[in-house]
């Protein structure tokens, strides 16, 4: 007992010191949890803007809500009204939409006053007798119809119908039924009645904290309305997804970090039955975490929580190094001597593993790059700590001996040794399977990487369809511009250019910012072409000849046109103050980033995005860019995938070169690399059979696998000049107590050591396969399947000094 404590003293002290340093570092530079920081930034202005919009744009702050349940319609309407009122009162939302939302009388009067500045029908010929005559006839016709109260109210002051035209184009046909101040979704068979609400938050979309607060506010507002038990609130939107994704990812990371740590500790305890070993193994791991943390903070300014959690899990593979040192020490050898002896192999293994991270580092995805820096620094640190620090911490005395492997396992592995034909057959089968399925499937569909569960996406689609708020798929970007007025002018030039495209059916329509508010220049131009009093009076007299209008009927029209000529053109603040409901539809189409003003004009009914993109590019409108979100994201992903593939290839070559260099025998390097190549092939086949379409995360993981699996070949082949000619797996040594060390042999130790390494890697990465997050699951599955293949292939293929055990 006392001996054990004394043995623990040095590594314990080292661990305390390292832990304290890590705590200080984590306190000075706490990990960040903002999802947006982990996501890519685009290379081109378009993709940069797009990604920024996707992460923090107006569309991401949209909350779609429904209240449904088997309760009376009046009760649902009351819930809707009271929830909406509470949301407005909270001041947390830039906009709340519900059935009570309609332009006030003052707003209508404001818009009516500015009708000839806002309406696109204000054209030079619109006020001539020829143009007015059919308008007056239409007015008369309308007065005969049931719509006459409406026409009598607006028609005489606006016989050109400018205002009603504006109102129709802005408000359109509503799909929802307004009842009692609530929007009712169209009735659905076998479903309870549902009211709809819409809110736009003020925080950035993927800022999980702000979104979480907005969602809380929504729930609180609903709860404050005293809902009956049968009524429930449904929430959706990008912000809800972000708020739900963050804890899910954090949960994944925490789970795998904790579980893999515990499993690893349990396995090592079982295998070696030594607290000292556990403490010794922990030293390089904590040192690696400290170094990785420090390096990441030094390069990126902070560590992202995901990179930290996941990086620590990846550093789990660094337990290989201390295990190899502690278990490969020969009888009577000092720790320092053992470290020096295995150092060439250890150095090679660590370098190969670090090179294995090259694909992640080269992918360009901020999250993966951080991860690569963290893990790469950590791995090298772990190797260095094992070489130079650990020997001085380890207690002198008898070496730590592993629990002998179970007899069946040894028998199975022994049977595998030298079975090159079997290994070749397995690899061949994998190749054939891959060929038969037409090679690995590449993931091009972004939806598959989406961490949002399918049923949540289905609800989102349903609510969007009911509210008539379609997900933005294609947009025209307007900008960068110096001011909003300039963006509005760009929007007008786009409106002009898009006319032939719409006529040709390339797209159905565009929701242009200038549709709501024309640029000041356009408003001034419209004022300039309004006729003076006398000319208009004259035109009216001619136009109304023979029609039963009284002479004074159109006096309000004459006065309105005269007033319009003298109005100050509307700017954005003026418009927002006078017409809040219409401005609420304009505001998501205008954004500012830094000093630049940008506009977004969502396009609907795009026939072929690629064709439209070409047509728009050929038209060459300055400051106007067509972006199809799906197309652009796929391209972006493809670019990342290509970068990752190139770096993976380069990394693969580098691993081979390292091997050749380290072994100084290229032929032997190739032989050692063979199991790894085979493992990659087997891995691809396993992924294909598991129905996984490959994405860049798989690709990066394949290289990582190659870097890790090098260990097995290296240490099984034991380049460290050892190789007494004793049997590898002396039957007599197997199953004996740990004290019968004399009968054991280096081969058994090597196999046991390498098996321990493989199992610890499997425990670490295998857990990732159970993650909900598709990215983590992909990495986990790839590495776990690859490690298993690589270990078995290494057993079968690696040329070992004495293949045939003496019996």
């Amino acid at each position: 007992m006392i001996l054990a404590l004394r043995n623990l003293a040095r590594p314990g002290a080292a661990l305390l010191l390292l832990g304290a340093l890590l705590a200080v570092l984590a306190w000075r530079a706490p990990p960040r949890a903002d999802l947006a920081e982990f996501l890519p930034v685009g290379g081109t202005p378009a993709s940069a803007f797009l990604l920024r919009e996707l992460q923090s744009g107006a569309a991401t702050t949209l909350l779609l809500a429904a209240i449904e349940g088997e309760v009376p319609r009046e009760e649902l309407a009351r819930l809707s009204r009271e929830t909406a009122a509470a949301l407005r009162a909270s001041g947390r939302f830039a906009f709340v939409g519900d059935g009570t939302l309609r332009p006030s009388e003052e707003e209508l009067a404001f818009l009516f006053r500015h009708r000839y500045l806002l309406s696109p029908e204000t054209q030079p010929e619109a006020f001539t007798a020829e143009a007015l005559r059919p308008k007056l006839q239409a007015l008369l016709d309308g007065l005969r119809s049931a719509a006459s109260p409406l026409l009598a109210r607006f028609g005489f002051a606006d016989p050109t119908g400018s205002f009603l035209g504006l109102a129709t184009s802005w408000l359109g046909e509503s799909r929802v039924e307004t009842f009692d101040g609530a929007w009712f979704a169209p009735p659905r068979p076998d479903a309870p009645p549902r009211v709809l609400l819409l809110a736009r938050g003020q925080g950035a979309g993927l800022d999980a904290e702000a979104q979480g607060a907005a969602i809380e506010a929504f729930r609180a507002a609903f709860a404050a309305a005293n809902p009956p038990a049968a009524a429930r609130l449904l929430l959706s939107g990008p912000g809800v997804f972000a708020a739900e994704a963050a804890p899910r990812i954090r949960g994944d990371v925490e789970l795998i970090t904790t579980a893999s740590g515990l499993l690893l500790a349990a396995f090592l305890t079982w295998r070696f039955r030594s607290a000292t070993l556990l403490a010794l193994v922990a030293v390089p791991l904590v040192a690696a975490t400290l170094a990785g943390y420090a390096m990441t903070v030094a390069i990126f300014g902070a560590v992202h929580a995901i990179a930290l959690g996941f990086g620590m899990t990846m550093l789990g593979v660094a337990v290989d190094y201390p295990i190899l040192l502690l278990t490969l020490r020969r009888e009577g050898e000092t720790m320092v001597a053992a470290a020096a002896r295995i150092w060439p192999s250890l150095r090679l293994a660590a370098a190969a593993a670090a090179v294995g991270l090259l694909a992640m580092a080269g992918s360009g995805l901020p999250g993966l790059v951080q991860l690569a820096v963290f893990a790469g620094t950590g791995l090298l640190t772990a190797a260095a700590t094992t070489r130079w620090v650990l020997p001085h911490l380890a207690p002198p005395g008898p070496r730590i001996v592993a629990r002998p492997l179970p007899a069946w396992l040894v028998a199975a592995l022994t049977a595998l040794q030298g079975r090159r034909a079997l290994a070749g057959l397995a690899v061949l089968a994998a190749g054939v399977a891959l060929l038969a399925s037409g090679g690995p499937t590449w993931q091009r569909d972004l939806a598959a990487l989406n961490p949002v569960p399918a049923e949540r996406r289905a609800l989102d689609g349903e609510l969007r369809a009911q509210l008539g708020a379609p997900d933005v798929r294609a947009v025209f970007l307007l900008g960068p511009a110096a001011s909003e007025a300039e963006v509005l002018a760009l929007s007008e030039s786009l409106a002009e250019a898009a006319r032939p495209w719409i006529a040709a059916g390339r797209l159905a329509g565009i929701d242009l910012p200038s549709r709501y508010l024309p640029s000041p220049a356009t408003q001034r131009a419209r004022q300039a072409l309004l006729p003076d009093q006398a000319a208009l009076e004259d035109a009216l007299r001619q136009a109304s000849a023979g029609l039963p209008f009284r002479p004074a009927a159109f006096a309000p029209f004459l006065a309105g046109v005269e007033e319009s000529r003298r109005l100050v053109p509307l700017d954005l603040p003026g418009f927002a103050a006078g017409a809040p409901t219409i401005a609420a539809r304009l505001s998501p189409l205008l954004t500012r980033h830094g000093a630049a003003a940008w506009g977004i004009a969502p396009a609907s009914g795009v026939a072929d995005p690629a064709v439209l993109e070409r047509v728009v590019a050929e038209r060459g409108l300055p400051g106007v860019l067509f972006v199809d979100v799906k197309l652009e994201m796929e391209r972006l992903l493809w670019a990342y995938l290509r970068a990752t593939a190139l770096w993976a290839l380069a990394g693969g070559v580098a691993v081979l070169a390292l091997l050749a260099l380290g072994l100084r025998r290229p032929r032997r390097a190739l032989l050692l690399a063979a199991p790894i190549g085979g493992a990659v092939l087997l891995d691809l086949a396993v992924l294909e059979l598991a129905g996984q379409a490959l994405n860049l995360f798989h690709l990066a993981s394949l290289l990582l696998l190659a870097g890790l699996a090098i260990d097995y070949s290296l240490f099984l082949a034991d380049p460290g000049a050892d190789t007494g000619s004793r049997p590898i797996l002396d039957a007599a040594g197997v199953g004996q107590g740990p004290r019968d060390e004399g009968l054991r042999n280096p081969r058994d130790d090597r196999l046991g050591a390498v098996l321990s390494c493989a199992i610890s890697t499997l425990l670490t990465f295998g857990l990732l396969s159970f993650c909900e997050t598709p990215v983590l699951r992909g990495i986990g599955l790839t590495v776990a399947a690859g490690v298993a293949s690589a270990f078995l292939l290494a057993c079968a293929l690696v040329p070992q000094p004495d293949i045939a055990p003496e019996r």
Binding site: L143, R144, A146, A147, A152, S174, F549, A553
Partner: protein, 193 residues
């Protein structure tokens, strides 16, 4: 003697309004009950729409159809063709000659809703529904016909429709006069056999 008669008359005229009020309320309820007892109606109408900005009233004619509890259809066949059909909370407006068809919630058009509820409430004999939207004044004429004046309760609606005057005999509605914006629309209704 003369003065006594005068005093009696005076006293009677003082008493009369109170007595009449109760009587009229009773008569209103009887009329409503009679209206409610007719679940299905078909009629033709003529309409004169007088608008202050026009020299002449605009005439039109067509048919009306009612199906309790809430379906109402007005089809204009001259001089324009137009169909308005209300069912529950939704209104369908069609002008086949213009290719116009709209379907919207009545709630979204309070002015239109006021007109619809006035006629629908009367035909359904639903006094409570009428009083949700209007102040109801009812009077029996000397010839036994009745006259009902509906004044919208909503200020917004009163901006467009000031008064709706319905006249009828027993369970028959004969006229609907809508006054608003300085104009008046007079509809005369004849039951179809």
């Amino acid at each position: 003697m003369r003065t006594r008669r005068r005093v009696l008359l005076l006293a009677a005229s003082c008493l009369l309004p109170r007595a009449t009020h109760a009587q009229e309320e009773e008569a209103l309820r009887r009329t409503m009950a009679a209206l409610a007892a007719t679940p299905q109606r078909q009629a033709s109408f003529t309409e004169q729409k007088a608008i202050p900005e026009l020299d002449l009233p605009l005439p039109s004619e067509g048919t009306l159809r009612w199906q309790a509890p809430d379906r109402l259809e007005k089809v204009t066949i001259f001089p324009i063709t137009e169909r308005i059909a209300v069912a529950g909370g939704r209104l369908t407006y069609e002008r086949p000659d213009r290719g116009i068809q709209r379907n919207f919630a009545l709630q979204e058009e309070p002015e239109m809703q006021a007109l619809v509820e006035a006629i629908r409430g009367t035909l359904a004999g639903d006094l409570a529904a009428l009083r949700r939207h209007y102040d109801v004044a009812y009077a029996t004429q000397r010839d036994g016909s009745w006259r009902m004046v509906l004044t919208p309760l909503s200020l917004r609606v009163r901006g467009a429709v000031q008064r709706i005057v319905l006249t009828g005999l027993g369970a028959e509605v004969r006229g609907v006069d809508t006054e608003g914006n300085g104009g008046v629309t007079r509809m005369r209704i004849t039951s179809a056999p």
